[in-house]
Amino acid sequence: MDAPRASRPANVLLAAGGILAAALALALFLVPLPGAFGPLFGSGAKALIRTLNDSRTWSSLRFALLESLASSVLALALGLPAAWLVARREFRGRRFLSSLGAVPFAVPPLLVALGFVMFWGRSGAVNAFLVRVLGLDEPPVSFLYSIHGVVLAHAVYNFPIVMRMAGDLWARLPDEQADAARSLGAGEGRILLGVTLPQLAPALASATSLVFLYSFSSFVIVLVFGAMAGSTLEVEIYRAARIEVDQGRAASLALVGTAAALLLVGVYAAMEARHASPGQSQGLRNPRKPLRGRLERVAALAYGTVASILVGGPAVSVLAASFIERRGFSGTFGFGLGNYRRLFESGALGSLGVTLVLALTTAFIAAAAGTAAAWGLRRLGARGPKLTFAYLPLAVSPAVIALGWTRVVPGRGGASLLAVALIQAAGAWPLAWRSAHAAFSKIQGNVLDAAATLGSSTADRARRVDLPLAARGIASGAAFAFALSVGDAGSLILASPGGAPPLALLMYRLAGSYRFNEACAAGVLMALLGSLAFAIREEASDAL
C-alpha cells in the first residue's frame, strides 16, 4: 500500500528524513570502507601490485572458485531430492526435513565445523567406530582437512537453501503438465528431465548461485579445514591482517575480494530477478501425496539415511562429546557434566555475559538501522535501493567490514566490543530491514489515512500506528540479529576483541587447543542461546 501523500513542503522534509534514515543504516557499511582500504592509499599502488603479483593471491582465488563450484554442485545434488520430498510427498519425518531449511541461518558455521571434526575427524565418531569394528591400526577416514572436507561441510550446511527455494517452486508446479506428458506417453524420467526440471531451472540457478556466493565468502569453515589444502580470499585477508600484520596486502586482498564478490552478486541478482520474474507459476500448492511404490520408498529411505548421517551425525557428536569426560590419569571415559563444570570454572560465565551484551548491542543496532531504513524507504517510495540493500551484505565481505571497523573504532588490547557489534550489525541489519520492511508493507494505506484524518501528524502516526503495528516484525529482525551475533565466530576471529571472549570465540580457542569436549560444551550453550532467539523470532514472524 502507498504511504499517504503529504503536501509538498512536508514531502521534501519526509524525503530528507527518509534519505537520512537510509544513510544512517548504510553508514554501517560505508564508514568502515576507508578503514579497510586506507592502507592502499598510504603506500601508493605498491602493496596492490605486490599482492597482484603474489601467486598466493591467485591460488586462493582459484581455490575459492573451485571449492564454491564443487560445494554448489554437491548442495544441488543433496538439495534436489529433498526439495521433491518436501514439496510433493507426505511421509513421517517430512516436517523435520522441511525444518532443516532454517539450518544455514540458525546454525553457526563454527558449530558445523566442530560437528564435522567430532564426527569425521581423526578421533571422531566414524573413525572410532571403523577402527573398533574393522580392527584397524590407523583411522581410515582422513578427507576432512582438505578441499573435500571444505566442500562437504559447505554442501551439508547449504543444501537446505536448494531444498527451500526449489521446493517452494516445485510445490506450485501444476500437476496437469506432467499428466499431459504422461497421457502423451512420456515416462517419469522423461517428465522429470523434459517438463519438471526446465521449469525449476530458475529456482535452481538462483539457489545454486546463492550457495556459490556463501561458499565463496565462507571464512570459518575454510579456516578450520582448509589449512592444508588452500584458502579463500577471506582467510587470506585474515592472515595478512592478523598473522603477517601486512596491512597493505590485507587492503589489496580486500579490494580483490570485493571486486570478485560484486561480480558474483551481480550474477546472483540476475538469476534472482529471472527467478522472480512474472510468468512464473504463482499457483496454489499442490496437495502432497504419500510415497508411491517400492522404488519411491526405497529411494526415500536411502536418501533419509544419507541425510541423517550427514546432518545428524555431526550434531549428535557435538552433543554427546559435551557430556563425555576423561576421568583420572587412567584415561577412561564416562558421561557427566564435567566439561560444563570446567568451562564455568575457567570463566565461561564471563563469556556468557559478554555474549549477551554483544548480542543485545548488535540486535539493537541492527534493528534500529533496519527499521530506520525500512521506514525511510517507505516514505520515499523508492524501489531501487531496496534491491541494493538486500544484496549489500553479500557484496561487502565480513572480513572487509571487520578490518574497517576495528580501525575506525579501535580498542585497548584488541578490538572493542562496540566495534564487534558494529561489524555484526553491518551483516545483520539488512535482514532486520527485510523483516521490518515486510511488516511496514502489511500496514494498509487506509489505516494511515484514517490516522491522518483523525489529526495525527507524520511523527505521531509513526509512534501510534506504524511502530506498534510493525513491532513484531522489528522484534523478529532483532531476534535474528541476536541469534547471528551469538553464533558468529567469524567476526570475532577477524576482530579479535580483548577481555573475556564471547562463547563463539571461547569455543574456537578451546578447539584450537584440542580441548574438544569443552569446546562442544561451549557449542551446546551457544546453540541453546541461539535457538532461544530463533524460537522467539519464529514466534514473532508467525504472529505477523
Partner: protein, 356 residues
C-alpha cells in the same frame, strides 16, 4: 458544518476530476457514479488525502483548501473501515481524542458513551478482529464521530458487507445521521443506496458532476441521456426527428414510432436528443390498442425477469426495436405479445451529452 467544493480539480494520467458540490449543515449528500468516475477521488480531495491541482474547499465558509487532512476535522469512514488492528474497540474510537490530548479517563468515557449511542455497549475491550462486518462499520463511524467532526465522509461504507446487512445498515446510517444531525458526504456506486442516504445526490461521470439534486429530481428529470442510462429507469432511444404537436408537447420520431413527450423548458434545436421511455410509467393496455389514443408500444416478450413484486420485461417490436417495461406480479412469459400505452409523462426528452 456547511461544506462546499468549488471546482476541486485533480489531474490523473487517465482522468481529470473536477468536483463541484455543496452540502448544507446537517444535510447529507450522496456522491453516485459508476466505478472509475472519480467519486472516491472527489471524497479524498475533500478529506485532504489528495492535494487538489486547483479549486477551493470551504468548510463552514472558511477556506480549508491548504489545510492538511489532520487539521480539517473531518471524520472519514473508509471502504474497508481501516480500523487500527493493534488497538481495542474503545482505543480505536478514542484515537482522535488521544491525538487531541484528552486525558485517558475523559477519552474513555466519551468513547464508551459514543459506542453506547451506536448500539455497541460493552464492546469497548473487544479486539477489532473479533467484530462482525456490521460492528466494524459502526466502530469506524463512532471513531469518525468522536472528534466532533465538521462533516462525516464515507467512502463506499457498505460495499464490503453482505446484501442483507447492507440494506439494514444503510437505513440505520441514515436514521443516525438525521438523529445526530451531522453533515454527511457518502460515496456509493449503488443507486438505491445513494437515493436513500442523500438529501441530495451528486451524480458523477467522467470525472465531473453531471447532475446534482434531490433523488426524485434525478429519477423524474434526468439531466441528460447519460444520466438516464446510468439510472436505468427505462430505454433511451435517439430522437430521429421532431414533428408538430399540441402546446406543451413535442412529437419525437424514434425507432419505436412517434412518441409524445413533454416539451423541455428550453430545447436547443442544434442539439441531439434522446427519448427516455420510462419502464415504470408505461401502462399495460389490451394488445389490440389503447383506449385514449396515446401511442401504444406493442412487442413480443424476449425476456421476463421475475423480481418479486414485479416482473421486468424486455420486448421487441415488429420493426426489431427493443424497449423495457414492468408488470405487477408475474404475468408474462417470453414469446407473448403485449402492448403498453406510452403517455407523455412516460416519455422524457433528454439531451445527448456533447461528445458522447
Amino acid at each position: 458544518m456547511r461544506c462546499e467544493a468549488r471546482s476541486l480539480r485533480k489531474d490523473w494520467p487517465s482522468l481529470t476530476v473536477i468536483f463541484d458540490a455543496a452540502v448544507e449543515d446537517g444535510r447529507s449528500l450522496a456522491i453516485l457514479g459508476p466505478s472509475g468516475c472519480g467519486k472516491s477521488t472527489a471524497l479524498r480531495l475533500v478529506a485532504g488525502l489528495e492535494r487538489p491541482d486547483s479549486g477551493r474547499l470551504l468548510l463552514g465558509g472558511s477556506d480549508a483548501t491548504d489545510k492538511p487532512a489532520r487539521e480539517r476535522g473531518l471524520g472519514v469512514v473508509f471502504q474497508d473501515f481501516a480500523l487500527f488492528p493493534h488497538l481495542s474497540v474503545v482505543d480505536n474510537v478514542a484515537y482522535g481524542l488521544a491525538v487531541r490530548g484528552l486525558s485517558r479517563a475523559d477519552r474513555r468515557s466519551k468513547a464508551e458513551a459514543l459506542l453506547a449511542r451506536l448500539g455497541l455497549e460493552g464492546f469497548g475491550r473487544r479486539e477489532v478482529a473479533s467484530l462482525s462486518g456490521g460492528e466494524r462499520q459502526r466502530v469506524a463511524l463512532a471513531r469518525a464521530l468522536a472528534i466532533d467532526p465538521a462533516a462525516v465522509l464515507l467512502d463506499e461504507p457498505l460495499s464490503s458487507l453482505d446484501p442483507e446487512l447492507r440494506k439494514r445498515l444503510r437505513s440505520e446510517l441514515r436514521d443516525l445521521q438525521r438523529r445526530e444531525g451531522f453533515t454527511m458526504l457518502a460515496v456509493t456506486h449503488d443507486i438505491e443506496e445513494a437515493f436513500l442516504l442523500g438529501d441530495e445526490v451528486a451524480l458523477m461521470d467522467g470525472g465531473r458532476v453531471v447532475q446534482l439534486g434531490a433523488p426524485e429530481a434525478l429519477w423524474l428529470a434526468p439531466a441528460d441521456a447519460g444520466v438516464a442510462r446510468f439510472l436505468g429507469r427505462g430505454t433511451v432511444l435517439p430522437a430521429l426527428a421532431f414533428e408538430p404537436a399540441p402546446a406543451g408537447l413535442v412529437h419525437a420520431r424514434t425507432a419505436l414510432g412517434v412518441l409524445a413527450c413533454r416539451e423541455p423548458v428550453a430545447r436547443d434545436e442544434a442539439a441531439r436528443y434522446g427519448v427516455l421511455v420510462a419502464a415504470d410509467a408505461l401502462v399495460p393496455v389490451p394488445a389490440t390498442g389503447s383506449a385514449d389514443g396515446s401511442a401504444a408500444l406493442r412487442g413480443r416478450v424476449v425476456r421476463a425477469d421475475f423480481a418479486g413484486s414485479l416482473t421486468r420485461l424486455e420486448l421487441e417490436t415488429e420493426g426489431g426495436a427493443r424497449f423495457r417495461a414492468e408488470l405487477k406480479g408475474r404475468d408474462a412469459s417470453p414469446g407473448e405479445t403485449l402492448a403498453f400505452a406510452a403517455q407523455p409523462d412516460a416519455c422524457l426528452l433528454v439531451p445527448e451529452r456533447a461528445g458522447s
